[in-house]
């Protein structure tokens, strides 16, 4: 009976704090995406050859933990199968955050474009849903001085 009480408390805490953090994070992501929008990032490998660009590898990474509510819901979904909706927003946040950090890196170099952008996703904790890491990397092109 105590176990059940603890579980309920953790789920409620996870829901309150987790969804508040998610709302805040999305708000901040959307704001920063607008600010960094002028910096084009593409998956294309061949940059325009008309300029002698300075090329530098830029990276951005983030590790995001799932909250208890998401993990709990996901383990219920595991019984029935189907879309794991609680993790969709989690991974969307992680991916966009990693992209923003990569862009911020490129911005500080004075870059104009990022080419050959790639993402790398991994689950870094074996316990429960734990945490996921997303890393974004690409080549920043800075105009010659």
């Amino acid at each position: 009976m105590i176990e059940v009480g603890i579980a309920v408390a953790l789920v409620i805490l996870g829901y309150i704090f987790g969804s508040a953090a998610e709302r805040r994070h999305f708000k901040s992501i959307i704001k920063r995406e607008r600010e960094l929008n002028r910096l084009a990032a593409v998956a294309t490998r061949f940059p325009p050859e008309d300029t002698a660009w300075r090329q530098q590898l830029v990276t951005g990474n983030v590790v995001i933990a799932s909250d208890y509510f998401k993990t709990f819901t996901a383990s219920l979904i595991n019984i029935f199968g189907g879309k794991v909706t609680p993790f969709e927003s989690l991974i969307d946040r992680a991916r966009r955050e990693a992209m923003l950090r990569m862009k911020a890196d490129a911005q500080s170099l004075g870059a104009e474009y990022i080419f050959n952008v790639k993402y790398n996703t991994s689950r870094i904790s074996q316990f429960g849903a734990g945490a996921i890491e997303v890393m974004a990397y690409g080549t920043a092109l800075t105009p010659p001085e």
Partner: protein
């Protein structure tokens, strides 16, 4: 919507690059399938149920990629890459991304 993992499409000219678009889908299989998979692990062979699940998931991810590309007025996504990762016990994510472009006939 044209989707390709080529950089350039023969016969077309890229008019404009519109940035990165992406689609993702996280799915879990139900306990029954997990059990069958455990049994199958004894004998080996293809896990058809999982193949189908991941294929469904990939289709959804691609549909989301196309939706993103459409929403920014692109008519093709080039240099597309797929990636699969296990983000939690029993939940697999399919992720697809590429460059959204506006193509015109050469």
């Amino acid at each position: 919507m044209l989707i390709s993992n080529l950089e350039f499409l023969p016969g077309y000219k890229i008019k404009r690059h519109l940035g990165l678009v992406q689609g993702s889908s996280v799915r879990a299989k139900h306990v029954g399938r997990d059990l069958m998979a455990t049994l199958k692990n004894i004998f080996g062979g293809e896990l058809t149920a999982y193949t189908e699940l991941l294929q469904d998931s990939r289709e959804e991810a691609t549909a989301r990629l196309v939706e993103q590309a459409t929403s920014i007025g692109a008519n093709a996504v080039l240099n597309v890459r797929f990636s699969t990762s296990s983000i939690a016990a029993g939940a697999a994510e399919i992720f697809v991304y590429g460059t959204a472009v506006e193509l015109e006939d050469d």
